[in-house]
């Protein structure tokens, strides 16, 4: 019941315990607690940031999609336009080519006609002269004959 030497024994024990706690126990565990607190705070901040970033990227993705759609429509339209253009050009080219071919053919026809006419004229002349010669064989000399024929030919050529 009374105070005795135990008092000092207990004081020494107490001092040892406090020293031990301060040296080996308290700082270590408090550090673990504080570290975890910091870690959790960081994690929460990161989660918040991640959330925000997700929102942003979703927004961006939407925007990109919208842009892509618009661009696709543009591309299709342009392709359409170009196709029409090409078709138009091809049509034009074909038409000029056809025209040119027609004109060449026409020229050929004219040439052929001319050549045929010339041949016909010559033949006709010969035939006329032959006919006339046969008719005139009896009465007119050869010299007058030749002159008549060439006059005739010239006349035919002029009349052409």
């Amino acid at each position: 019941m009374d105070l005795n030497l135990t008092l000092f024994g207990q004081m020494i024990t107490f001092a040892l315990f406090v020293w031990f706690t301060k040296r080996f126990v308290w700082p270590v565990l408090i550090k673990a607690i504080n570290d975890r607190e910091a870690k959790i705070a960081d994690g929460l901040a990161a989660a918040e940031r991640g959330h925000h970033e997700l929102d942003l990227s979703q927004e961006r993705a939407k925007e990109l999609l919208r842009d892509a759609k618009a661009k696709a429509i543009d591309v299709v339209e342009q392709a359409h336009k170009q196709a029409t253009h090409i078709l138009e050009e091809a049509r034009l080219e074909a038409r000029t080519l056809a025209l040119r071919m027609v004109s060449v053919a026409e020229e050929d026809i004219v040439q052929a006609k001319l050549a045929a006419k010339m041949a016909l004229q010559k033949e006709l002349g010969v035939m006329v002269v032959k006919g006339a010669e046969r008719i005139l064989k009896q009465n007119i000399s050869g010299a007058i004959n030749d002159r008549l024929i060439s006059d005739l030919i010239a006349e035919v050529g002029v009349s052409e």
Partner: protein, 266 residues
Amino acid sequence: MSNETLDSSQYVHHHLTNLPWTHAFLQKKLGDFGVLNLDTLIMSFILGSAILLLFYFLARRATSGVPSKLQNFVEILFEFIQKQVKETFQGSNPLIAPLALTIFVWILLMNLMDLIPVDLFSILLGKVGVPYWRMVPTTDLNVTFAMSLSVFILILYYSVKEKGALGFAKELLMHPFPYIWMAPINLPLSIIHELAKPVSLALRLFGNLFSGEVIFILIALFPIWWLQWVLGLPWAIFHILIIFIQAFIFTILTIVYLSLAHESHE
């Protein structure tokens, strides 16, 4: 009844007697003061080192990642103490929190011994030849005064360290009446004020636990067996409250006193 050879008063006396050890030299020099209460010293040391070693091994394996259940529990205790210190103690002193933690867990464990049936260990140890054994160290004035006097020494140390010898002297002389001519009245008042701190700390804890223990002993004396439950159980449940409250009060008052020692009253 534990021991048929004792009558009631002997039984009570037996349960309130510490296991003494002394040396002829100490006895001669110090008289009754030269005695060591072995049961008190051993019990308090075992309890204190058990909990501190547990803390130590937990601290070595402590992780800032996901804590084990035990670490989690201990951390709750640590944060509870840290919160009390932060709320009460204004300055920054790395000693206060570990001191408060040590006081709290140590007193709590020593108080908890009160819930062990009063006869259990005295009978068991009696069988191996130990004549006296008190399980609850906080029912020994030496324990409570050892802690409160240690705290008192810290109070004086930090008062002088933080305020300077002159500042502390001025505080003693100028309070509660702020006139120097009142110093002859202030000084005794201040001294009583300061001395009341360790005395009240020690006696409050001792008184609560000692009276609790006495009541447990008296309940154990009832001859009707079922009265042990009818009286013992409610008292034990009520005592759990006292055990925690007393440990808490001692801790909080220690923090408050040391906080006062750090701040000037100007």
